[in-house]
Symmetry: C2
Subunit: 427 residues, 2 copies
Amino acid sequence: MVARAGIVVTGTEVLTGRVTDRNGPWLAEQLRVGGVDVGTVLVVGDRPEDLRAALGFLGSLGMDLVITTGGLGPTADDLTAEVVGDVQGRPSAVDPELERQIGAIVERLMTRRGWRADPEATAAGTRKQAMVPAGATVLPPVGTAPGLVVPPVDGRDGPVVVVLPGPPPELQGMWPAALADPAVRAALAGRSELRQETVRLWGTLESQLAATLRDHDAELTGLEITTCLRDGELEIVTRYGPDGQPAYDRLVGVLREEHGEQLFSTGPTVDDLVAGALAERGLTVATGESCTSGLLVARLTERAGSSAWVLGGIASYANSAKEALVGVPAGMLAEHGAVSTQVAAALAEGARARFGADVGVGITGVAGPGGGSPSKPVGTVHLCAVGPEGRQARSVVLPGSRSAVRQRSVTLAMQMLRQLLLGGPPA
Amino acid sequence: MVARAGIVVTGTEVLTGRVTDRNGPWLAEQLRVGGVDVGTVLVVGDRPEDLRAALGFLGSLGMDLVITTGGLGPTADDLTAEVVGDVQGRPSAVDPELERQIGAIVERLMTRRGWRADPEATAAGTRKQAMVPAGATVLPPVGTAPGLVVPPVDGRDGPVVVVLPGPPPELQGMWPAALADPAVRAALAGRSELRQETVRLWGTLESQLAATLRDHDAELTGLEITTCLRDGELEIVTRYGPDGQPAYDRLVGVLREEHGEQLFSTGPTVDDLVAGALAERGLTVATGESCTSGLLVARLTERAGSSAWVLGGIASYANSAKEALVGVPAGMLAEHGAVSTQVAAALAEGARARFGADVGVGITGVAGPGGGSPSKPVGTVHLCAVGPEGRQARSVVLPGSRSAVRQRSVTLAMQMLRQLLLGGPPA
């Protein structure tokens, strides 16, 4: 028996996309690892009736646990604690000790930034943030907002509701305390492990994979398989209980037999593979980027410790910068244009030489929406990766928006680095 | 009377955060501009019962329109069309003309990429994607998947359901056809305009703003105000009907009176302001980045046409690159360390000189999680922006993860550029 949880993300800023929700996915993953099944995440605006309906819906699905994020701030649109208290049959009141604690935090924050705090304003906001439903457990603030664990009032059925703040660092910092709460532990008791594994293909479409999965359907019972094509990479994610291991091993066997030429990973991402290969072989890398303008070197340095293998990159957006800073010959730019296989190679070699790196990557293209021509339409991108043992070059016309073209170019460059360093499916 | 819509985003990959949903926010914004209120977005995994429950929930809220995204592909986990047909009382069958159309598209895609297509596999996937609920309208494919408009079967109450594909370019390409459908138009008839405006502050916390809003509560009736602190910027978003204009004007007046020193925009983002100032004054910019390693120059070039003012940037992750490529003196690095106000200034000046730009920005810091020391803890970041009329310098200790420190450093740099070019609240 798997325990079940639902998540309610609150905030008009999330609903309308001004802020991308990172809490729903993070919580879903934490819960999955802990053996808790999450099938539904609701995003609602800052309106009490919408939050109330969302809580009612998850209750009607028979969830063991519901987690809310956001709506714990000092402004009037922050209403989560009160609504949750209401739904669980527990009216709220100010907790004076909590009030003092929050007041001290706000004052310290404002002072540290050198901002002026109005004591009356601070007091009113603090009072609001210190409202606690009767009988709820307070989770100590990581930022300014406390969290709450609110079980249904005695005699009432329904999920335990955990109320967490919206800023991801605060939410993540508070998570261990939430999991350790006795009411939460009781709600999740008796859960069994839920495994998740990922196989990654490069070089095929979902329809081809679908046929393989259909042909072997009978051998793959008990697996929940989902596939997703992203930036040209086909991700196959499988979830299964402890009994599903033999079926999962069979799935990996089937994929190796039928899609061996496209299978590049049974776990790690392309970023993991590239970082691992550079670190293990003691190689360094540098980039010369035009249309992606720093996105590749930013991605290569997302990882902690990447300074051991990333020397840097030059975003040479202007032609003058391609010449002066990366050493692309002026004659080459004049003859072939900035968007050409020749310039991609010169950017890769120039970056390699200027930074003194073992591996160089060059990217040049037309990200759009303007700047296209009949011979070089929007989406035309030339890439080159040069390493100690050879080189990779690709020329493509990528579909989609400016942002999509830039993003897919960076992923293609990562696949080229993967093949240059490790072999496997051609990028 | 405002028409109401709900959105259901399907896909285990979205639920678990492997893919960030861009469709929910995009659709919510399109609908808002069209005067349709969206209060709830549900994200569900690829399980028929979860999708069915989500559709039932939105129906129970009395929505006029429900939009689903995703689950239209050829694999077995793509089940949206069938479940929606079921819920609306319309059993599905293969549409032979649509089947031919999709088959041709898949073949063309595989050929263009030079990938091998198995004709049998293609046929099976195509048959699945060509299943249409009886009496539904087909929206022609933009990628391989068609969309659907599925009203409830005659005699049944409930929202019209519009079924759209998951890939954002396909969904966005199909949206005009969905809006033009007669059943969709009928569902949204009689809608009234819903305005949305944004005021942006830099240099205060939500608690201070909350007090202002409380003090003036009586003058601000009819406004739906939400506030959000992001990377240090406080965003105040207000939604209101046509009658709310005087109250909104009053709100802007109140904010100017009470928070004039922090208010830097009544609309445009900091990115808009910086791009506009550079373009209007004919100035160029270049960056020298260490801990943010290309993120700032990537952000500056997100905008179409930015090649007119962005010359490029050097991500000088290694000290050797700071010396050789940006001209930071070796003695300065030895004396003050790479993370110092001196090196931030040298990066800004070096980038400016090497690219021949009017404005240079330098960033150096400890993004963490390793590399901190008692005198330079993780989160220590020094920034400098140098322009024709002067300079801005800031030194901060930012909280949060490696990614948060890098992100906030970039936003702080944008605010410094804004102040350098336009004045207003200090960054």
